[in-house]
């Protein structure tokens, strides 16, 4: 039965994707992208990936819509039709689809317990998480400890992307001469929508609180730094939407955000180096406390905190970079 639900959702997903590509209004496409993300998260959830669904929920529902809209406000919302080689592209795509579908016949079916992915390292992780780390959420254990290097790499990619956006969008364009002072920009936020403002302001503390819960409960349930970072960033973005961007910058200035971006990544690295100084390997948390399991717990909480801080900082920096340029 569940598999039928999944297939139904997948059908909707494909229809949505087709509509996104066909739609001529980019604005409509972005709204449809929101629906696409909701469907995707529901699918992840049906496929037992609670953590991934939580991430998709935190990112896809709010932040990615906001970023795309921020870019649309700066570039215009209608496309002028496809390029000339549309037929050729269609041909290539059809043939490739058929090849990929043909290839799937050799894949193990959905949920096959003998599939290679269930056999090797995955089974080892599940078996050893209780023994070596002793937290219920195996995803957090793998993310934070077993594959800590990977996550460090990802955090640095996020960090680099954030720095890249700041570089790109803080450069002054040739056509624009006067520097915009954020203080006297007439961006009033949603001032004339009273009801959303009141309700939104009421929600913000709860979103923050929930972000903290996701951050620190990540060892025991779905959650962790990536999700929490996105949720906290979403709370601040909501504040910026309701009260105007200048107000949000007054609460959390760009200089603080830059420190957050760097500080989170540094915290992550520092945990690794501390492990080295205490005589272990880089990112080996067992030496952080006398009991290796407690050490693992401390290490995971610290690096998740680092991840959360960096993700919050990067997402907010990106948001402000787009918003500051968007004074049309």
């Amino acid at each position: 039965m569940i598999i039928l639900f999944g297939i139904f959702l997948l059908t909707l997903l494909v229809i949505t994707a087709l509509a996104i590509v066909r739609s001529e209004s980019l604005f409509a496409a972005v709204i449809l992208t929101g629906i696409f993300s909701l469907l995707m998260a529901a699918n992840f959830f049906l496929l037992d990936a609670a953590d991934v669904a939580l991430t998709e929920a935190a990112i896809g529902a709010g932040i990615s819509t906001v970023l795309f809209l921020g870019a649309l406000a700066l570039t215009g919302e209608h496309e002028r039709g496809s390029s000339k080689n549309r037929m050729a592209a269609l041909g290539v795509v059809t043939i490739t689809t058929l090849i990929v579908i043909y290839a799937t016949f050799d894949k193990p079916r959905l949920g096959d317990p003998d599939a290679p992915v269930q056999q090797h390292v995955g089974a080892w992780y599940l078996e050893n998480t209780p023994k070596l780390i002793d937290i219920p959420n195996a995803v957090t254990a793998v993310l934070g400890s077993f594959r800590g290097y990977d996550t460090l790499g990802e955090v640095f990619v996020v960090f680099t992307a954030g720095i890249g956006v700041l570089f790109l969008l803080s450069a002054r364009s040739a056509g624009r001469t006067e520097e915009i002072d954020p203080a006297n920009v007439p961006n009033r936020g949603l001032r004339h929508y009273l009801v959303p403002r009141v309700v939104g302001r009421m929600l913000i503390p709860f979103i923050f609180l929930f972000g903290l819960y996701v951050q620190f409960h990540g060892d025991y349930g779905p959650g962790g730094g990536f999700q929490a970072g996105a949720i906290v960033a979403a709370a601040v973005i909501l504040y910026a939407l309701l009260e105007g961007e200048a107000e949000a910058l007054r609460v959390l200035p760009l200089s603080v955000l830059k420190w957050l971006v760097a500080g989170g990544a540094l915290l992550y690295g520092a945990v690794g180096v501390t492990g080295m100084l205490l005589g272990g390997n880089f990112l080996d948390y067992s030496v952080l406390a006398s009991d290796p399991i407690v050490g693992q717990h401390i290490g995971i909480i610290l690096i998740e905190l680092g991840v959360g801080i960096t993700v919050t900082g990067v997402l907010l920096c990106v948001f402000h970079a787009f918003a500051a340029r968007g004074k049309v």
């Binding site: 598999i3 997948l10 059908t11 997903l13 494909v14 994707a17 590509v21 496409a29 972005v30 993300s37 699918n43 496929l47 037992d48 990936a49 609670a50 953590d51 991430t55 932040i63 990615s64 970023l67 795309f68 700066l74 496309e79 039709g81 496809s82 390029s83 549309r86 592209a89 795509v93 059809t94 689809t97 579908i101 799937t104 959905l110 949920g111 992915v117 599940l126 209780p130 195996a138 995803v139 993310l143 990977d150 990802e154 990619v157 996020v158 992307a161 954030g162 956006v165 790109l168 969008l169 364009s173 040739a174 025991y220 349930g221 990536f226 993700v311 990067v314 990106v318 970079a321 787009f322």
Partner: protein
């Protein structure tokens, strides 16, 4: 039943190619980026689909449950989603700069201006 288990992979293939089509056939740069994120989502779907196991549950260990889906693909995708949004933001930043320099985000118009 065998074929039913493959439908997820077909959906992956179709989504992948819808995204790919948007990237190669659309001339609007933002549309290309949206296509890229559909492409990305398709890959995420593939990974998560592979991790699922019959009768298993999410890899958050509980007493009395012995069968869990594999955590590894989920870890990879979890981080990839956040990395994906950051790189998309970077792409959007580049598009915004292109718009400011060239006055257009249509591929052919940009190339036209480059030739001048």
């Amino acid at each position: 039943m065998e074929l039913l288990g493959l439908v997820y992979y077909w959906a992956f293939a179709i989504l992948l190619m819808i995204g790919f089509y948007a990237v190669i056939a659309k001339s609007n740069l933002i549309k290309k980026l949206i296509g890229l994120s559909i492409f990305q989502a398709a890959v995420f779907l593939l990974y998560i689909t592979m991790g699922k196991v019959d009768g298993g549950t999410a890899p958050i260990l509980q007493d009395g449950v012995s069968l869990y889906s594999t955590p590894l693909p989920q870890v990879l995708i979890l981080t990839a989603i956040v990395v994906g949004i950051s790189t998309t933001a970077l792409g959007l930043g580049i598009v915004v700069r292109i718009k400011e320099e060239y006055g257009s985000i249509e591929e052919d118009e940009i190339q036209e201006r480059d030739r001048q």
